[in-house]
């Protein structure tokens, strides 16, 4: 049973939104993203913006872990690098945010490329531990140069719309007034991040279906077989590390701009890395849709876990963060045991049922 209509021409294969239902989904998605910041209250708008940041982060981990099969426990390190690049360059030289988002990505990618060669010699388990060491090292370095990073006290993140040394107040945080309508900062940043997410999803999707992405999946499924078939395993792993840490750095910079004030630990600790792993397992390892669904489920379920957790007698002693950690741990274990493809797997089954309806194939 094919999961999409049979393709007979290359144009059909290349089309991003080949059939009516996907175009409908796209239109609904765009409408929702435009309407959400105008209608949601501050609490949910904040969660929405954080969701967009998380989507970029989980896509970046999906490229490394889901596509290439390299486990990283140090994902938070790359986010921290992106966030601190944005904070330091923004406050020192007043660079605008549209320069700092890719700059955060580039710094993280540079470190990712340095880790890449380790991945060539190490298999799953060893790599997980080395990346964990990388997380500790990065946090240590960030904390030990307080004259640059302001150490444990944290650093505030200015968000300039243009080069700040021009003199005028160019902060992106000012509300935008268009005629009678006013867009508050929270609404502006949501719309901005929606665009960034769209670009990242598009890039990651093109990566997935291009030569490089297929090489990654070949390496994941069987690296020796892949190398026999002519895939350059070393280059593929290093590319995966570079691309993944670039997007992670972008996510980190986005997170910094959204939070306005960041510290090293929390949030950039092992818990964050593990949360990202939870997301991609929840969504469905190896699929781009899974990364997006997983991030959505994670950020939307967290407030719900809090609400439910306060009702359960034993669990209510925990803080809300611990409650959501407990819920997600149970969910992830359940999915790993019974539905390894995650929410995406469930969605596929539902879709197939309706495509075959009224027959049970």
């Amino acid at each position: 049973m094919p999961t999409r209509a049979l393709v007979t021409r290359y144009e059909q294969d290349l089309a991003l939104f080949p059939d009516f239902w996907q175009r409908l989904g796209l239109a609904l998605g765009i409408a929702f993203l435009l309407a959400f910041p105008l209608t949601a209250n501050a609490y949910w708008l904040n969660i929405g913006t954080l969701t967009l940041v998380t989507v970029v982060g989980s896509i970046s981990l999906m490229i490394l872990t889901g596509f290439t099969g390299q486990i990283s426990l140090g994902h938070a390190a790359f986010l921290a690098l992106g966030a601190y690049t944005a904070a330091i360059l923004g406050s020192r030289w007043g660079l605008p945010f549209w320069l700092l988002l890719p700059a955060g990505g580039l710094v993280a990618a540079a470190v990712g490329l340095m880790v890449g060669p380790f991945a060539l010699r190490l298999e799953g388990l060893y790599l997980a531990i080395v990346t964990l060491g990388l997380l500790f090292l990065v946090n240590h370095v960030l904390l030990s140069f307080p004259e640059v990073t302001r150490g444990v006290s944290g650093i505030s993140v200015p968000m300039h719309a243009w080069f700040a040394d021009a003199g005028a107040d160019v902060s992106f945080r000012k509300p935008l007034v268009v005629g009678r309508y006013t867009l508050a900062f929270e609404q502006k940043i949501f719309l901005l991040y929606a665009v960034v997410v769209a670009v990242v999803v598009w890039l990651a999707n093109n990566l997935r279906r291009s030569n490089a992405g297929r090489a990654m999946m070949a390496v994941r499924d069987h690296d020796m077989a892949a190398s026999v078939m002519g895939v350059n395993v070393s280059a593929t792993k290093i590319i995966a590390f570079g691309v993944s840490s670039f997007f992670a750095g972008v996510a980190g910079a986005m997170y910094a701009f959204q939070q306005q004030y960041i510290t090293v630990d929390p949030p950039f600790n092992l818990t964050m890395s593990v949360q990202y792993i939870a997301m991609i397992v929840l969504g469905g390892v190896g699929t781009l849709t899974g990364a997006v669904i997983g991030a959505l489920a994670f950020t939307v379920l967290s407030p719900i876990a809090e609400m439910v957790g306060h009702q359960i007698p034993w669990v209510q002693n925990l803080t809300s963060a611990q409650q959501s950690t407990l819920l997600f741990s149970l969910l992830v274990i359940g999915f790993l045991l019974y539905e390894p493809m995650g929410l995406y797997g469930i969605w596929l089954r539902v879709k197939r049922y309706f495509m075959a309806w009224p027959f049970r194939y």
């Binding site: 531990i129 060491g133 240590h140 593990v274 002693n317």
Partner: protein, 298 residues
């Protein structure tokens, strides 16, 4: 001279604890190719169980033994319920699974025992010291080294001379062949997890002693034992014991001799130092000191 002996004794004590934790990792890895990231949480459960059992008025040695058996049983249950269905699934999945098992155990510990920290009871005075070669050495340190040594010796004796030890070695070398020979591989998995849980609990008891205390962050110390596992070689019990002791010594020596040299960079440098050593070892000799070379076959 006195200072050095004092440092060496606390380094050895830390190293003995690392060796106990690392041994737990290796036992499980050899038997079932699972790297158990929840080992730190087993350690924490063991420490809290000891505290609770000792507070009921039970003699200390019995409390420690009870905690070891309890943690061992918990580990065996975790193996049976969560990890047995994962046999044959990719390494990736089991690693993630054990991480989240650890998270759940941490939550359970916090629900049952709360988040406050408490002192680990000891049969001797917690801060007692004795004179040794002109240095004042904590009795706790000597206890850790002694108990660690006995536990490790017991491990090697079990592995070499008992039926179950031989069965464990057989299982770790070839699961299918041992199954064909009538070894109950499933039960051997359970036994290895039981053993690993016991060693984790023992490590937790000595880790929770003065100058540290027992709190829900104790489990994170197991993260510091990872380098010992890697440096020693994942499938070599002797290697990780040696590496554990060496890294414990290195960490304590780094704390007193390297940290002050590095200025502000040196703050907490000893905590990341084992990881730097580990990365260097991985680059030069990926299989560790005594691990066997991995052979890949298609």
């Amino acid at each position: 001279m006195g200072d050095t002996i004092q440092l060496l004794s606390s380094g050895l004590a830390l190293g003995a604890v690392y060796a106990l934790i690392a041994l737990g990792f290796v036992v499980i890895y050899r038997a079932s190719q699972v790297f158990n990231f929840a080992q730190g949480e087993f350690l924490m459960v063991g420490a809290f169980l000891t505290v609770s059992l000792a507070s009921t008025g039970m003699p200390w040695a019995l409390a420690v033994l009870g905690a070891m058996v309890g943690t061992g049983m918990l580990a065996a249950v975790v193996e049976r319920v969560v990890l047995r269905p994962m046999v044959g699934r990719p390494v990736f999945a089991t690693i993630i699974l054990t991480i989240f098992v650890g998270m759940i155990l941490r939550s359970i510990v916090m629900i049952v025992w709360g988040t406050s920290s408490r002192g680990m009871p000891t049969p001797w005075d917690t801060t007692a010291t004795i004179e040794l070669f002109g240095a004042r050495v904590l009795v706790n340190s000597i206890g850790a080294v002694g108990a660690g040594g006995i536990a490790l010796a017991a491990f090697f004796l079990i592995l070499r001379y008992t039926r179950i030890g031989v069965a464990m070695r057989a299982t770790s070398s070839d699961q299918e062949a041992s199954l064909a020979l009538g070894i109950p591989v499933g039960r051997i998995f359970g036994a290895t997890w039981f053993l690993a849980g016991m060693y984790a609990a023992l490590g937790g008891v000595f880790l929770g002693m003065f100058p540290r205390s027992v709190d829900p962050n104790l489990g994170f110390v197991a993260l510091r034992a990872f380098p010992a596992v890697i440096v020693g070689g994942l499938d070599s019990p002797l290697g990780v014991v040696i590496a554990g002791v060496l890294l414990g010594l290195l960490e304590v020596l780094a704390q007193s001799h390297i940290n002050p040299e590095l200025g502000s960079f040196g703050q907490n440098f000893h905590a990341v130092f084992p990881y730097i050593v580990m990365i260097l070892v991985l680059v030069i000799r990926p299989r560790g000191l005594m691990g066997s070379r991995e052979v890949k076959r298609v």
